[in-house]
Subunit: 147 residues, 2 copies
């Protein structure tokens, strides 16, 4: 690996900032194969009027299209915030090789909510806490400003 | 309610047959508001090369578009087979009023796999077993023919 997890999490953070600029909950994701970003996504729930239009889902759909493949065993997804149960399920089906997330989501995170089981694919590697304070600050400041 | 759950499950079964005709795993769904079908979907994992293109996800996206709304509290979704963890998560976010499914999925079903918690929204009503033998037969015969 030439680029680090920090480098790609910065790219996911850029996607989160794009969401923020559109007044969406600021969560972003990028999908990487062999040090190359093949797909990007940011939360578009409001824009698309679709409660399921999470960053991960948008990035996954883009990645399936980019690769012409329905499984992504060689890919890593970088997500600024822990994926929810739905997104963990989507990542399960994608058979993605690795999941890297920044900040924990104690309320909706599929990993935090299910500490005794693995919602991801058994072969998927998991890393967390990459640039977590930056990822969480972005989210906290968004909700603070909404109040 | 003028039409019965059996009536709408038959409509979901029609969607499942459409999937079958395209050599997709035969699972179908319809979304209903006030006795009117507002969205339909069938499994399109192979066609779209997208491991997450389940009948429920396709029907939900169509329903959000049809209603111009990101929540569906007045809607009922009829699904031929129990929704997986991902689809339960999507249904959670949609705040759909009611989920009706046909056959159980003991391997991937989000309800069967999580008997001690509710992956759906707390306000979502749940009914199962509607036309379950027809729904399961369709699936079993598909996999039998594949062997």
């Amino acid at each position: 690996m030439i680029f680090s997890d920090d480098y790609f999490m910065d790219q996911a953070l850029k996607e989160a900032v794009r969401a923020l600029e559109k007044d969406e909950v600021p969560i972003g994701a990028v999908i990487v194969i062999k040090d190359k970003i093949i797909a990007r996504g940011y939360n578009q729930v409001e824009l698309l009027n679709d409660a399921t239009a999470h960053a991960e889902i948008i990035a996954l759909t883009a990645a399936f299209n980019a690769m012409g493949a329905k499984y992504l065993p060689d890919a890593t997804i970088y997500i600024t915030i822990e994926p929810c149960t739905m997104c963990c399920g989507a990542l399960y089906w994608s058979k993605i090789g690795r999941v890297v997330y920044g900040g924990k989501d104690l309320k909706h995170g599929g990993i935090s909510l299910h500490p005794h089981e693995n919602l991801l694919h058994p072969k998927t590697l998991l890393t967390s806490g990459i640039k977590d304070s930056e990822c969480i600050s972005l989210l906290k400041n968004f909700f603070k400003a909404k109040r």
